[in-house]
Subunit: 414 residues, 2 copies
């Protein structure tokens, strides 16, 4: 697709400049964008209103409209996020493991930008500013392909980036928004190997699967979380109820929310009714195995499909297991390698769970809701990787970099 | 393809066991394999002879036959390689950046195996043992899909792994060789997302491109090296001649050999004849631009295609440039981001080259031939990554691992 090849060429060119800016210069861009976002909030809200109008005509549902809607507060929040990125350490340029080899070569591993980062995302306009901000701080050019439903909002935000970048005499193409929001532009991005170094899909399971299946550009798979809480026979009762309740109800629509409860049969009789009561009060529908349905009034029978489902809603599946081994086996079979938690006071069970569960984040006695760049102390997040290559778990600034070996010689040959 | 799904299932199962062996147990396997390789060298050589016979019938050429041929010495070399892997530190289990968050959560980044590593490779049977050895040491199950031409040799080596693993009472399926060597088995491997965590192609540019284009399993792109040596106006004359000669002729068939010479116009008149003479004595064909052809007797005119070609042979392209900037631009345009070298005594030119060339390894005053796991001090190498994701440059043990966040809580909820 012609538009994308043009974007790609301009991105490559801008990458040479952006990758060699120093931290001060990059921070200056971010501060300027933050100021302009607040100054021009009216224009952004006007653009957002256009998107919302069209969304209403298209019959978009409540949750999408909510994600799409901007307000003066949300815009201030976006600006505040950029100012926080300014405060973070710049990973670029650091040289690790510099060492002198026996032949006198001095070899170091220098942290450098990836180059050009592509992101395909859905309704949330704040992603536009978050991604562009993280990319600028790490010296990466970004190519943003947002959803049709947020196009006007995204465009108004990218215009502000252009104003800030251009105002500093730099190449505006370090941030580019794909103007074509048809399916074909997403497909074209997935084949843009000559210009993109990495492609990150952010959105629902359908989008992510399509990108993983079709992209020849290296992809970082993010976000799908069929997360479990396993309540062990040696669980502390109060912690068990609190953690299950929090992991499910604190924010049910996000990837680190729990979707499935596993509980040891020796404590099912005494604990499931308590957990069931708490969840019911939180408005949660419970889909359970036979024992769950017997012990929790109102629970409905689960099907095989339920064990593999990420509801992203006030629904949870529930199953009784015979041992921590069985719990781990169930999790490794049905889970999406995102976040998994055991509630137990038994040392060996805790260690077994930590060792054997194959996931980005494995918890003992804590809610799965903590898997998050901010909670982990990275100060920012471009997504949560559920794959094993390059990055696993919350991706901060460092995960937007790669290395380059720099070798200082004095005439060495082999 | 049925065979691969079976292999995949067995691999997943074996991964649970192998990933939790301690270093001593893994080393025991490797030592036993090394001993058996030497004890059973006759059987391996017999199998190798079968491959060679069939190769001769198929009319394989000299270089492939050479890579395919085993000898008692080569087998000892393979065994020695495994014993060296035993000596290396085991990266698995190490926990990095363990920190206490303000809410009391103790969060650490634990180094864990990738899981199941697939490798598609061509004629060299030593790759079978090297890859299996590196994978066992890092707790990874490997699925090996070697070339048809080396099948008997590969099979005899894998049998020895099975004997060693089985003899220790462990699951032999931690090392598996795909029995079908048709194209379809390679294609099936590229779609084996449910069982493979990573796929590494090792071989010629054609194989690597096919895997990158068609695999839905995350790929690490390796090996293609269109490497340059740039002789700057401020180059030391002796170093320039020695480095160009070494980078081109030391081992022309490997990926870190130089394929292209760039030289500043101010030193072309005085240096090109010297370099040309040395290369000619080394039997190197020179394909040059106009100035090169004028200054080096016997040089033939280069075409546009030459600038982008990895010859892997005693051929080099040669071009005169006007500045270090032009050299860098040429390299970033035609190079494959592998290994690039500048010969100069000028500090600013050296720094500019190091900063601006976009490659896995960038050298000042040294031969490109040093890009290698052993030369870099890693003691082993599974390939040289030319992509930016996950690993860039020589990949050692650490690059066969990923991380898992382990979080110790005491009832934390959000």
């Amino acid at each position: 697709m012609e538009e994308l090849i043009e974007i790609g060429k301009r991105a490559k060119k801008a990458a040479g400049q952006l990758g060699n800016l120093n931290t001060e210069q990059k921070n200056k861009i971010l501060m300027r964008v933050a100021d302009l976002l607040e100054e021009q909030a009216d224009a952004i809200l006007k653009a957002n209103e256009k998107d919302l109008e069209m969304g209403r005509e298209m019959g978009l549902t409540g949750a999408i409209v909510d994600r799409l809607t901007l307000s003066r507060e949300r815009i201030s929040g976006i600006a505040g996020g950029l100012r926080e990125i300014v405060q973070l350490d710049d990973p670029i340029g650091e040289i690790e493991e510099m060492k002198k080899r026996p032949n006198g070569l001095l070899i170091g591993k220098k942290r450098v930008p990836l180059g050009v980062v592509g992101v395909i995302y859905e309704s949330r306009p704040n992603v536009t500013a978050d991604v562009a901000g993280l990319c600028i701080k790490t010296g990466n050019v970004c190519v943003l392909r947002g959803g049709k439903e947020a196009f006007q909002s995204n465009n108004s935000i990218v215009k502000i980036f252009h104003e800030a970048i251009g105002g500093l005499g730099l190449d505006q193409h370090m941030v580019q928004l794909v103007q074509n929001t048809d399916r074909e532009s997403a497909v074209a991005m997935m084949k843009l190997n000559d210009y993109l170094d990495i492609l990150i899909p952010r959105g629902g399971a359908g989008l992510i699967k399509a990108v993983v299946q079709n992209s020849t550009v290296p992809v970082i798979e993010t976000g799908v979380g069929n997360c479990h809480v396993y309540v062990d026979e040696a669980a502390d009762r109060e912690k068990a109820v609190a953690i299950v309740y929090n992991a499910k109800t604190h924010r049910p629509g996000v990837c680190n929310a729990a979707e499935s409860l596993l509980i040891h049969r020796d404590v099912a009789e005494s604990l499931l009714p308590l957990i069931g009561k708490a969840l019911a009060e939180g408005g949660v529908e419970i889909r359970g195995d036979e024992t769950t349905c017997r012990l929790i009034p109102g629970a409905v029978p689960a099907t095989e499909e339920d064990w593999g489902t990420e509801y992203l809603d006030l629904v949870i599946s529930s199953k009784v297991v015979g041992s921590v081994e069985e719990a781990v086996e169930h999790i490794n079979h049905y889970g999406t390698m995102h976040s998994e938690s055991i509630v137990t006071e038994n040392y060996s069970h805790a260690q077994y769970f930590l060792d054997r569960v194959d996931a980005a984040a494995v918890y003992v006695n804590a809610s799965t809701r903590f898997t998050d760049g901010f909670e982990f102390g990275y100060g920012a997040e471009i997504g949560i990787s559920t794959q094993k290559l390059h990055a696993r778990g919350p991706m901060g600034l460092r995960e937007l970099t790669t290395n380059k070996y720099v070798i200082y010689g004095s005439g060495q040959i082999r």
